[in-house]
Structures are given as structure tokens and as C-alpha cells.
Symmetry: C2
Subunit: 329 residues, 2 copies
């Protein structure tokens, strides 16, 4: 941490991004960044497709890491291990192709190619540069049976299905709503909830087109179309309230709809990095809603293998992921 002193890297304003390998660290040659969806959306809306490259370069140059100052979020990276410190607990070897499973917001990053290969149209950013993983940072060796871009997309959101699985099983929840059920974390969370035993799965999506895709996938029992930012519309679309709601949309203002759609005694899991702590806390209080609200921790033990297993085992999930990639290509 260069400044301020005394905080952990995620909170730091600026990191030392020199590709020097500490005793318990790993240095990575970066080949791609996967920006957090909320962060990419904010940058694109603020700077336009033509301006996002400059915006990302400026942030990384100023902070030594990719942390969007508005959303506070980052993303993850893909690369090849260049150097492993003698006391690294990572188990990684030089030459391993890996994805980082810790946020870019705490990962020292240096970009050396000016992001020349990125057209700004997609949150997956071809990139040459270096990054440093700490002793406590975790990374996944990329599976050999999946295309790298696909694996990266899955690993980017692998905390969501793992925590959904845990919450649904712990509560033996029968009904689960996923806001943004057609997206990456949303479709994986639907599949996880199904495997965990839920018998009424509701996917809420923003458009008829997305609704058709999710219906065709069979991942949900009910697919409804509503603006997740409109609490009364969400409640009306969902109908009978659910035991567990999982928020997987990348726009702000979805807290109250999630609370209204959840039955007393139920749980809301917020995975969107656009979630406002105050809006959730005060909104639930203001509605006298007795719901438990979880901050979606991106780390659950075994989350990477769990998410990759869902992708391999659920053709519908894989089809949605590949469809997203095709639309962008």
C-alpha cells in the first residue's frame, strides 16, 4: 500500500504495482481482465464505448489497481504465472494458466500495452501487463476442457451459485427468486437453487427477449418480466412471496423490490456490486420487513469447482453463457 497507511490493499487509494515477487507472492503475466459488470456499465455510461479504454488506463495508472472509484468494484484477471515466491501457499507453478479469484480492487496491476486490443464493447478486456497475487489471494488453474473465455466468465461470478446453494440448503427453502435470472451469476444461481432442492424457481428479467431465452433454458419454473428497480412492479410480477431472493442485476436501486418480494423470515442475498448498504438496511426497516439480508461474499470454499461443475453438468447454463459470448462477438 502506498497510501493511506494501515489499511488493507482493497481499501488503499494506491498500490505499488511493481512486478516484484515477495516471499509468499506470485507474479502473473496478465492476458485478460474481466471487469465487474456494475463497474463496466458505469464506465461505459459515463465515458461512452470510445472512452472506456482511456478511463480504465487512467484508473490503473493512478491507483496501481483496477478499482472503479464510483462503484468501488473491480473484476478479475486471467494470465500465466511468471514467478512463484518460495513461501507461496498457492500451489501454483510457473507457466500455469490461471484466473484470479480475488478482486482486482486489491490486486497490484500494471498495464503495458495501452489496452490496444480492446474495443470497449465488452467487459472482457484483452490486456498485456503484470499483476501480483498475495499470500492470501486465491487463484484457479484454468480447466483444460473449457474455452478460456467461457471459464473466465464462470469464475468471475462463482461466489453466487455457491452461496445460493448454501442458503437454500440451510433453510430447506422451497421458493427462490433470482433478480437478473438470465445473466451469468443469475443463471448459475438458478441452477444451484434447483440442485439444492428448491421447487419453485422464479426468474425476473428485464426484457421479453431475455425472458424467451430463460424460458427455453428450463432453468426456472416461472419467468417474469419487470424492471428490478421498480419495487411495486417486482412484487406484482412475482406474486406469492418467496423464501429466498438472490439479487444478480448490475444496476442500482434493486434493494426494495428484493425486500418486498421476500416473505417474512426469508433471506435476500445481494450479489450486485451496485447494492447500497443504506438503501437495503433502511428500506427493510421502513417496510417493517423481517428479512435477513446477506452481503454476497465472493468467497465460499470450493466455489470455483462448484460453478464449473454446474456449467459442465447443466447444458442450459452453458448455452446461456455461450449465447452471451456469441452476441458480443
Amino acid at each position: 500500500m502506498l497510501e493511506p497507511a494501515g489499511v488493507l490493499p482493497q481499501q488503499a487509494e494506491r498500490l505499488d504495482a511493481s512486478p516484484v515477487c515477495g516471499a509468499d507472492e506470485v507474479v502473473v503475466d496478465v492476458s485478460r481482465l474481466n471487469l465487474d459488470a456494475a463497474s463496466y456499465r458505469q464506465l461505459r455510461e459515463r465515458h461512452g464505448v470510445g472512452g472506456v479504454r482511456r478511463a480504465v488506463l487512467d484508473i490503473v495508472a493512478a491507483r496501481g489497481k483496477m478499482q472503479n472509484p464510483v462503484t468501488g468494484s473491480g473484476g478479475m484477471l486471467l494470465g500465466t504465472v511468471r514467478e512463484v515466491g518460495p513461501r507461496s501457499p498457492s500451489g501454483l507453478r510457473v507457466g500455469d494458466r490461471i484466473a484470479s479469484l480475488v478482486s482486482l480492487t486489491l490486486t497490484p496491476l500494471r498495464i503495458t500495452d495501452g489496452l490496444a486490443g480492446w474495443d470497449g464493447r465488452d467487459e472482457q478486456v484483452p490486456c498485456e501487463g503484470t499483476a501480483v497475487l498475495f499470500g492470501r489471494s486465491i487463484a484457479a488453474v484454468l480447466p483444460r476442457d473449457l474455452p478460456e473465455g467461457l471459464a473466465l466468465s464462470v469464475l468471475d461470478v462463482c461466489g453466487a451459485p455457491a452461496l445460493t446453494d448454501r442458503v437454500v440448503r440451510r433453510r430447506s427453502a422451497a421458493s427462490v427468486l433470482v433478480l437478473g435470472g438470465g445473466g451469468k451469476s443469475g443463471s448459475l444461481s438458478l441452477a444451484a437453487a434447483r440442485r439444492a432442492g428448491a421447487s419453485r424457481l422464479v426468474a425476473l428479467v428485464p426484457t421479453d427477449r431475455e425472458a424467451a431465452a430463460v424460458r427455453a433454458s428450463g432453468l426456472a419454473d416461472e419467468v417474469v418480466v419487470a424492471d428490478a428497480r421498480d419495487p411495486l412492479a417486482v412484487a406484482a410480477a412475482v406474486g406469492e412471496r418467496v423464501e429466498v431472493t438472490v439479487v444478480c442485476v448490475d444496476v442500482a436501486g434493486c434493494e426494495h423490490g428484493a425486500v418486498l418480494a421476500t416473505a417474512d423470515g426469508g433471506v435476500v442475498v445481494f450479489f450486485s456490486m451496485a447494492t447500497s448498504f443504506a438503501a437495503a438496511a433502511l428500506g427493510a426497516e421502513g417496510l417493517a420487513a423481517d428479512v435477513e439480508m446477506l452481503i454476497g461474499n465472493g468467497y465460499v470454499p470450493g466455489h470455483a469447482e462448484f460453478a464449473l461443475g454446474l456449467l459442465r453438468g447443466e447444458p442450459a447454463v452453458r448455452a446461456l453463457f455461450e449465447d452471451r459470448q456469441t452476441q458480443r462477438a
Copy 2:
């Protein structure tokens, strides 16, 4: 809601604060506001003691409610019921002295005395004006056996001990850490954790003076002094990690210390309105910390009576509350 359309009052930019009583509503003659601690602190630091009155008046005039645009938080109010709509589910009667148990961030409020009686030195604001409570809003009739200021202080934070009780009981947690254990929500949470069966209670406070007061109270088994914003200092001060951490400080940047002090499989409950969703979510992920993180919902059924009961039954809690009031008088 005057703007924007389609959101609930808490999210609205501006509310209609006219003291007109809808069929299921209640109109209140306000006598005092209790600003959220994080909000008051931010306003005082930004505007100084001499400027906070103007700042609050400007916010309420512009928004029709007291919602600090920086922290997103509000507070609560004390007043007398002026009018009860014919379909109000509140059970309130004209003339009842009440405290609102929903946030000021969603309560239509009009101030008519220019806050002339407030010197800005305290988050309790003498105030003449009117407020409207909605059908879903809840309020507590003030108990006759406690001074109003004391009751208001307790009701302001009554969600914290109720949720602490629930979390500790559900997990049969033996060890509980309260960051800010000397404050209002902190001391109540310590007392709640004790009653719920915890056998190792750790209070972390910022100063030796506060440590002495908490030690004298006997509310905690261990009292440690550290800056809650310094994660490594928090972890070192706490020593063996705890099963449940309750965050009751009103400053930003306490997320990582709370995570580091909590054992794998444990729970962090964030009550501070200064909590950053992104810092919590990404911080835990970055540390590969398998902790459950709860957004402190200010509503738990029975929370007001539970907190007042703790105050009545625990002389040490009452002494800390009264000491705070004396220091300010």
C-alpha cells in the same frame, strides 16, 4: 413521492411533506429528531458545529425528509400524534407520545421552527414541525417509566440488540466481538449477547477513557482499545477470532477489521450506516474469508420492547446511556 416516480419513499429524491393524513396514515407533531450517528458525524465534520443547523434545514427543505445525501441515512423522531387516519393499522391514538421506528429517510417531514432550539452539538435535535407515518410505518408509544430522551436513545438503535440476540442464539455462539462496544447500540448488543448465552464477550473501543467506562460496566469479559479502521490492529487486539462480530461504530472503513477478527464459518453483522457494501463484499473475498455478512436490518419483530427491557434490566447499560447524556448536557 414527488420524484422520481415508481420508487418507494426511502429511495425518493423528494417527498411531499404536507401534513395531510391519508386513510391509513398518521400525522405527528414533531418535538425532537434523533439524527443517525453516521449522518450527524458527517454533517458536523463537513459543516462544523455552527453549520449543521443550516445543513439539516436545507436537506429537509429540498427533500421533504431528513436523508443525508452522503451517508444515505436519516434517524428517527419523537412527537405527539395529531391525527390518525380511519384505516390506520398503527393502533395509535391522538395525543400519544411516540417515537418513530422507521427511518427519517422515508418519513415526510416539515420543520417550522428553523431548529432554533438546537445548538448543533448533539444528534438529538429539538424541533417543531410535522411528520407523516405510512400504513406500514411502525412507531412505539413512549414508556412512562423512562425519561423521553433516554427512551429515544434506546429506540434509535433497538434493531441492533434484537438481531444480535437472534444471531447468537441461532448459532449458539460462545464468542462475540462488538466494535464500538461502549456506544449506544454497542452496549445494548453486548447485553443482548450475554443474555443469549455468549461466554466470551469482547468490546473494542477507540479510547482508554471509553475502555475504563466499559470495564467498569462489566458488560464485556475483555475490553480492548484499537482503531476499528485499522484491520491489523483490530485483529491483534482481539486475539483469538470470534464466532460473531457486531459492527456498531459510526465511522467508515471498519469492514476489514471486522472480517479479520471473525473465524471461518462465523458471522459479521453490520449495523453502522457508514458500512460500504463493496468494501465488505470484496474485502471478505480478497481475504478468502468464509464469513457470513449480514446487513443490519433495523427491524426485528419486538425489537423496541426487547431493547427497553435490556435497559430496564441491566443497570450497567442504563448507566452508560445516562453517562452519555450527562456528558453532552
